[in-house]
Amino acid sequence: MEIKDADKKRLLEDLVLSHAPHIRDKQSVPLVMWLVVLALLPATVFSCYIYGLYVALVIAVSIISALISESIMQYLLKKPITINDGSAVITGLLLAMNLPPHVPLWIPAIGSAFSIIIAKQLFGGLGYNIFNPALAGRAFLLASWPVEMTTLWHKFPGGYVITNNPLFDPSMPQQLVDSISGATPLGALKEGPKVLHELSLSTQPLYDFLFSKAMIKSLFLGNIGGCIGETSALLLLIGALLLLWKRIISWHIPISYIATVAIIMGIYYYFQGIPNLQYAVLFHILSGGLILGAFFMATDMVTSPVTKTGMIIFGIGCGILASVIRLWGGYPEGVSYSILLMNAVTPLIDKLTRPKVFGTR
């Protein structure tokens, strides 16, 4: 076959010149982001089912607010508008998942706007933000409107503590039932002992009730009060498995985070003399959004370390902070603050865990 000059010219028409490598992996930022959204979907849908359709509205408002804020900021900052990369959708969705189910709709609207405008775009946009935008938004809301953020939990018929729980003891003092019936399990753990101390009653029945097999089952499957996203540990774990399988996240942060909480709680309740130690540990793992936080928020690539060693240090740090907040702090749960605090030291961790270059070891 002979190639003529005209053919030669035609052959070169579509030629692209660029530096090696000439082939690329299929993974891309939009693919990563949309897979995270997909992974959150089972838990989201289940939330709408268990708390009612109002939750769907909260989520929708949160996401739309995030998308609008992102477009406006990118327009004002004269940047390409990248709302289709999925990152703003994740921020909106995650923020909604960190809200109580019955918040007024202006809460997600303002929260998402804060997340995107202040925590993300003013820091330089995707890749440059120091704090996880969704968690920064939640912290902002919690500081500004604490009542709306901590009281509007879902009330199951008869109060969550009573729901289908064979262990519930009808002889529990009414004051205790009142104080914990509308709270989350961790809220009950924080408030219940105080009430019982005031009444000079033993805390043992409360611990027996919270650290029970039935409670663990409820926490795992999801018919329990809490934030929109923390209902079902099972569905969150299914989503997490998808991300692990697709290598969007690695095990380092979530496992070190959860293991640290488990160890600290195990030691603490061992010295407290709690008989059902395994349930006490599982109670802390499955409640308070630890699963959601460990697998979906602490693993946020932008705000967590890049090295594997760094990731483990990050996870352990989160675990210590969350445990300290839960056991001795003012909040019943400590997942979001633990992650935000560790976000702040991520650059330092990255610097300290820089791998030893080949040939210099």
């Binding site: 000439h22 791998p355 040939g359």
Partner: protein, 439 residues
């Protein structure tokens, strides 16, 4: 023996099935050969022929210039019609000797007589390698005689033969090992004699089962107890020199150092084959095997090509393409060079020509780094490509300098995995260039 595992690495689609069962074929000699005087690392050879002069096949036309350089020979018999600058893989203005084929081949196709090398001493054998103009055929094209003759203060105890061929698509080394295992063993014995080493390893990725088997059989048949075939995990960049040495010996070439710093010399299987040809038959390096491949190539295969044959001539012989290429790559897809036209000649370091169609080529613009750490986890040198890339983007070469840019081996794994499609290895190349210019 213990196999060590280097850090990181990637698994790009191998795409070797296009050509890994296709036996070698000769390509016909082109009418005109454009033979660059620089086909190696080091100084270009000095032309010693004149325009109008007739040359024989294998005649010396370029004399090695200085310590690190290599001889260049006429790859076809004929008339020197031009000595002029042409676009070569190494330079846009590379001096080439253009030979118009004419006359008869003096060596090709003739019965050859083996030299008896048992009477020759090491220096005499090394001289033959040097005279033949052999360079590393794995791609780096470092003059082989220099590599086989380390300074007196260095002792070499191990020879490693690189048959890993970790670049996707390429199958020349695989095919050479499948079809010429005994010749390779012979070449290894010669190289061991030159280096005075008593142990040699042949590293081959496990995806080349036929090559592994062929060489194991050849080792057994020749009773070469001092040569071991080492099957290696299939992982890019297994064939990178430092990673290969580490995998087989556990020795880490120091930063900024050379294999000889850890008493090792590495040679590609193709180079070993060329050494045998030169030493036993006094054959200069005038041709090599290359893989011509890609989904859009009508007749992909492994071809024996004379240096100076242009890409366009090769394409004609391979039946052309089924659609327009979006990229023409000299070498493999990970480290190869993208060409902007097809008049570029094949040189000693060319291992293949790859044609990629539009849908196989990523032309997306890149996004900001999202700090996912994938580049850090795949970097075989343990660098922080993300930080290097960010520093370059901000033109903070002072920051980049502290991140070991010169340890980068340009394997491209970081760019390959980056979900933001950042050209990380290119950024590192930029740091190297800028910092070298400052020094």
């Amino acid at each position: 023996m213990m196999i060590h595992s280097f850090h990181g690495g990637i698994h790009p689609p191998e795409n070797k099935h296009f050509t890994n069962r296709i036996p070698f074929k000769y390509l016909s000699v082109p009418q005109k050969c454009y033979i660059p005087l620089q086909q190696h690392i080091g100084k270009p050879a000095t032309p010693i022929v004149e325009v109008g002069q007739f040359v024989e096949e294998g005649q010396l036309i370029g004399q090695a210039n200085g310590l690190i350089s290599a001889n260049v020979h006429a790859t076809v018999p004929g008339k020197v019609v031009e000595i002029a600058e042409y676009h070569t893989p190494y330079s846009e203005h590379g001096l080439c000797v253009v030979i118009e084929a004419e006359g008869s081949f003096s060596t090709s196709g003739k019965v050859r007589e083996k030299n008896d090398i048992s009477t020759l001493d090491r220096d005499a054998i090394l001289e033959k390698v040097k005279a033949a103009g052999i360079v590393g055929l794995g791609g780096a094209a470092f003059p082989t005689a220099v590599k086989l003759n380390p300074p007196a203060n260095r002792t070499i105890d191990t020879l490693i033969i690189n048959g890993s061929e970790c670049e996707p698509y390429l199958t020349v080394d695989d095919m050479l090992m499948q079809t010429h295992p005994e010749e390779i063993i012979e070449g290894i014995h010669i190289s061991m004699k030159i280096l005075g080493v008593s142990k040699a390893y042949i590293g081959i990725e496990k995806n080349k089962a036929l090559a592994i088997k062929a060489l194991q059989t050849a080792v057994a048949n020749t009773k070469s107890e001092n040569i071991s075939v080492v099957p290696l995990r299939t992982r890019y960049p297994q064939g990178a020199e430092k990673q290969l040495i580490y995998t087989i010996t556990g020795r880490e070439v120091p930063s900024g150092g050379l294999p000889m710093d850890v008493n090792v010399v590495v040679q590609n299987v193709g180079t070993i084959y060329a050494i045998r040809e030169a030493v036993l038959f006094d054959k200069p390096l005038i041709e090599r095997y290359i893989t011509v491949t890609g989904k859009i190539v009508k007749k992909p295969g492994n071809y024996k090509v004379r240096f100076g044959t242009r890409v366009i001539d090769i394409l004609e012989e391979c039946g052309g393409l089924t659609e327009n290429p979006a990229k023409i790559i000299m070498g493999g897809p990970m480290c190869g060079l993208a060409l902007n036209h097809m008049d570029i000649p094949i040189v000693k370091g060319t291992s293949g020509i790859l044609f990629l169609a539009k849908h196989e080529v990523e032309v997306d613009s890149f996004r900001p780094c999202i700090r996912c750490g994938r580049c850090v986890s795949v970097c075989p040198m343990n660098l922080m490509p993300c930080d290097l890339g960010n520093a370059v983007e901000k033109q903070r070469y002072d920051i980049a300098e502290k991140l070991h840019p010169f340890d980068c081996i340009m394997c491209g794994s970081c760019s390959y995995v980056c979900p933001s499609k950042r050209p990380l290895s290119h950024f590192i190349k930029v740091v190297q260039t800028v910092l070298s210019a400052k020094r």
